[in-house]
């Protein structure tokens, strides 16, 4: 087995470990009656051990891939997103050791699992580095940013537990609507994973020529049936489906098709789940959050922002500026990715001020943490796939 294969297998081991660990954290919550017992639960400890084993395997994936390619595996969407999932688990382990709360694991690990599955939908082959990325700062800047973001993400997970526990799911309310919207979004990601995997297994490909926004001819390959056609497209694969409509040149109809497929399949999944459960998905998870102490979740949420914010500042702003100065001759260029890092940073600065000086605790703080996670994900996914500047990984 060569190193790349070893690396992929280790990633698979970590994936399975996280699944198993989730079950143990579930057990920890089911089995314990009092708060104290729940904090010291055996099931929880076993869950933690399995999580750590998974995390070590995940690190193994990272370093073997590094050894194989000669550069830190942080240079494309697959590698970056996988590292984010890895550090999310790492951050969870850190906060679990401080606070020992299985409920956090019960929500953090499934989210890490969804993120890793999402990552594997992108091209996974090892790519050599283009000149701009050939720098020690690739590793220093990206890993610090990823660690910062994943610690910040833990605050959103603590916030989610808080909200799932405390929102009254029996009455119609704005809160109930939005928490269900969060659940729906997570299921859409699953929808994306299901569609991509299905068409990949079927080996689906359709090629088109089109005229790009600079009025030059170009070619594109779809990996899902083309619902939307590129500007002035012409099919090169004879038996591909004919797109419903043609899009103007600024819209990437290929990505739009993938998105619509994901949303459609995700929505069907969601409806099926609701039909089976006969209640909102957030209400299904409510019993799992019931034993969490709200104050404690609130504090974990705040604490993780406090721990994550300085790390994020260092990685996403300071190291980023140093590297940008080396590679592009300017420390700041208002590139969309940079701007969104700044927005993330300003958002968490606002969070800290609202909390410390204006007393936004509990539910307000939990919602802010969830919004912060949405901004981080927006920067990771949408800015890479849609806005795409210098930093684009995709």
């Amino acid at each position: 087995m060569d190193l790349v294969a070893v690396s992929s297998n280790l990633l698979f081991v970590s994936f399975v470990s996280y699944l198993v660990a989730t079950l143990f954290f579930g057990g920890a919550i089911k089995k314990s009656k009092t708060e104290k017992a729940y904090h010291n639960s055996k099931w929880g400890t076993i869950g933690l051990v399995i999580t750590i084993i998974g995390f070590l395997a995940h690190l193994g994936y990272f370093f073997t891939r590094w050894a194989a390619s000669g550069h830190a595996p942080l240079s494309n969407m697959f590698e970056f997103t996988t590292a984010f999932g890895m550090m999310l688990v790492g951050a969870f382990i850190l906060l679990y050791i401080i606070y020992r709360t299985p409920s956090l694991g019960l929500f953090a690990l499934p989210i890490a699992i969804i993120i890793i599955s999402y990552a594997t939908m992108f091209p996974r082959e090892v790519t050599p580095l283009i000149p701009a990325l050939q720098s020690k700062w690739l590793f220093i800047h990206v890993i610090t940013t990823v660690i910062g973001e994943s610690i910040l993400a833990i605050s959103a997970i603590a916030g989610l537990v808080f909200l799932v526990k405390n929102i009254d799911m029996t009455k119609k309310s704005k809160q109930r609507f939005w928490i269900e919207a969060v659940m729906y979004t997570l299921i859409l990601v699953l929808g994306f994973v299901v569609t991509s995997t299905t068409f990949k297994v079927m080996n689906y490909e359709a090629e088109f020529t089109y005229i790009d926004k600079n009025q030059a001819p170009a070619e594109i390959t779809y990996h899902v049936p083309p619902l939307f056609g590129m500007n002035e497209y012409e099919a090169m694969t004879p038996d591909a489906m004919t797109p419903w409509i043609e899009m103007p040149p600024i819209v990437n109809a290929q990505k739009l098709s993938s998105l619509v497929w994901a949303v459609a399949v995700g929505s069907v999944l969601y409806l099926l789940l609701r039909l089976i459960a006969r209640k909102p998905i957030a209400a299904v998870f409510q019993p799992l959050a019931k034993k969490a102490n709200s104050q404690l979740m609130d504090e974990i949420g705040y604490r993780s922002v406090l721990i994550g914010f300085p790390v994020f500042t260092l990685g996403a702003l300071i190291f980023a500026m140093i590297w940008a100065h080396e590679a592009w001759s300017r420390f700041w260029g208002w590139d969309p990715k940079e701007v969104w890092a700044l927005i993330t940073w300003l958002f968490y600065a606002a969070f800290l001020h609202l909390r410390l000086s204006r007393g936004w605790e509990g539910e307000k703080s939990a919602w802010l943490a969830v919004i912060g996670f949405v901004i981080i994900m927006f920067n990771l996914i949408a800015v890479n796939l849609i806005i795409a500047g210098l930093h684009s990984y995709a």
């Binding site: 009092t34 102490n293 104050q295 914010f309 592009w328 208002w334 300003l346 600065a349 001020h353 800015v383």
Partner: protein
């Protein structure tokens, strides 16, 4: 304004909420509430005290956190809007009309509005700059408003606090224990073990930890202000140089923006990854994408004009040879020269024959150096070619004259005057790539024979004296956030009141759970009364009893 005298006898500045010395509530608001507002120790702050003059109003506006957060959110929103469509500097256009056309063509009506509102140049707009200045002002004023009173009152704390202060803390407990003295002594010992700074005063304990973390926000705000100052300084000439130049292979030119320095381009190299060197690991990726660039490199030699030499003279002193690649700029005397761009295969010379059209016999050949074309090329034997017109980037005819759209030899065209022994007055001919025009039928023609090309490196020259200021600002910011985030200021008060009950109270500026863990440890070794956390209704009483199940 007069001072407020507390019952304990201490004189407090006007506007104080809690007595600086004993902690008794002084204002009506503080007396009424169940939990005192401990935020700035109830000390007197300018913004809370003076509200009448215009200066007060401005001061109060900027010191409000509500306003501060609103400014932060406004900057955030403006930044986000700026990423919807590409900013001006990423758009291939130069005139206003071209910009307007670009945004409208690609993004329709929305694009047009985006352009008209000036969002296409968001980060240079005056109102974005105003927002940043307001942000900086707010940070400065809000910090000064708080740091001084906070510093004073934290310095002046007394160990014994009035029961009304203790009772109004978020964490509070009271009760009787069997041996008060022993309980106090044990508590003191345990608190010391937990690394608290412990002060005692006949029957009262004040244990305090990590007070320095309270200064974190002020340190980090200082860092931010230094950073802003650095950015401001780049407006001053001499602090900041940002130039670009194209340097052809073989060329030696003065460095733009760096007087006295000269750079020679010894060759530009563009290298792709190949399958054999990148082994099996990258094979799959290379198959998929085609080719991936490995290096952009310009080999240069840096020279310095000798002391006293006239500017532009050839009296040069060699400094160093260097290969500039992406991520490894050439550095000298505060300047950085970056590999930013390139053009491959620009025409450098063109060689022509002068031929007799009917016999196709050549009368000789000549080579035009496109960067330095000569007026006349003598071919010997009485033949010569005179260059009457040179259009390096020929783009059709305008106003009856051939027209060149740039000085770059992308599409060179010439008007030659050919003199031969047969036709001593000469014949004229217009020669462009794949095109020859003659006014009348000529006997002779200039025919293209061959051309040579060379590569050009696009280099950027930067000098930035503010970098160290920015770096310093960043460093101070980091120290400040870490100081304020990774430590928390915790205080625990334990005292015996006049009736012999034991009172326990505790306060932290953040992370109450961890504070309670400390308090629980103290309660384990010294028998202290149970406490309540007034903001945690779910707090399990059994947890305090140490119940294991």
């Amino acid at each position: 304004m007069s001072n407020i005298k507390c019952q304990c006898g201490h004189e407090n500045p006007y506007g104080t909420e809690l007595c600086e010395k004993c902690g008794r509530p002084l204002s009506e608001k503080a007396k009424k509430s169940d939990i005192v507002d401990m935020r700035y120790e109830g000390s007197s702050r300018r913004s809370q005290t003076y509200k009448s003059s215009i200066v007060d109003k401005i001061w109060n506006f900027f010191s409000s956190v509500k306003i501060g957060v609103s400014i932060i959110v406004a900057v955030l929103a403006a930044s986000a809007i700026g990423t919807i469509f590409p900013q001006k500097f990423y758009v291939p256009a130069t005139t206003d009309a071209e910009y307007a056309e670009y945004y409208e063509r690609l993004y329709g009506v929305v694009g047009k509005i985006y352009y008209q509102l000036g969002f296409y140049d968001m980060y240079n707009s005056w109102w974005f700059k105003v927002l940043i200045v307001m942000l900086a002002t707010s940070i400065i004023i809000a910090s000064i408003d708080r740091v001084v009173p906070l510093y004073k009152s934290l310095k002046k704390q007394r160990t014994r606090r009035h029961p009304s202060f203790m009772k109004r803390q978020r964490i509070y407990g009271e009760g009787d224990v069997e041996n008060t003295e022993e309980a106090l002594a044990k508590a003191e010992e345990k608190l010391k073990e937990l690394r608290y700074n412990v002060k005692t005063e006949n029957g009262a304990i004040l244990a305090e930890k990590h007070r320095f973390s309270r200064w974190g926000p002020y340190v980090n705000h200082t860092g931010l202000i230094i950073f802003f100052a650095g950015v401001l300084l780049r407006g001053i000439p001499g602090f900041y140089v940002d130039e670009a130049m194209w340097l052809r292979e073989g060329e030696t030119r003065n460095i733009v923006g760096a007087p006295g320095y000269v750079l020679e381009n010894r060759g530009f190299i563009l290298e792709n990854y190949t399958k054999d060197e990148a082994e099996e690991v990258f094979g799959e990726a290379l198959d998929k994408v085609g080719s991936i660039v490995k290096t952009y490199q310009t080999d240069v030699t840096l020279y310095k004009e000798k002391e006293g030499a006239l500017p532009g003279s050839d009296d040069l002193e060699k400094m160093q040879d260097y290969s500039i690649v992406v991520n490894k700029p050439l550095k000298f005397n505060g300047y950085n020269v970056f590999q930013m761009d390139y053009k491959l295969n620009e025409l450098s010379t063109m060689t022509f024959h002068l031929v007799n059209k009917s016999t196709e016999k050549s009368l000789g050949e000549f080579t035009v150096d496109l960067s330095k074309p000569e007026k006349e090329y003598d071919l010997g034997n009485g033949s010569s070619v005179k260059m009457i017109g040179f259009y390096p980037d020929y783009d059709g005819v305008k106003d009856g004259e051939p027209y060149s759209k740039s000085p770059v030899p992308n599409n060179p065209a010439f008007i030659f005057q050919m003199k031969t022994p047969d036709k001593p007055e000469g014949e004229r001919s217009f020669v462009a790539i794949r095109q020859t025009l003659e006014v009348e039928e000529n006997d002779y023609a200039v025919k293209f024979a061959s051309a040579e090309t060379r590569n050009i490196s696009g280099l950027t020259i930067r000098k930035d004296k503010t970098l160290y200021i920015l770096l310093l600002g960043g460093l101070i910011f980091m120290i400040g956030v870490i100081q304020g985030s990774y430590w928390q200021h915790r205080r625990i008060w334990v005292q015996k009141d006049a009736e012999g009950h034991i009172l326990v109270a505790a306060h932290t500026n953040k992370n109450w759970f961890s504070l309670r863990k400390d308090l629980d440890k103290v309660r384990e070794s010294a028998v202290l009364p149970a406490y309540i956390d007034r903001q945690d209704p779910e707090l399990d009483k059994q947890e305090q009893e140490g119940d294991e199940k």
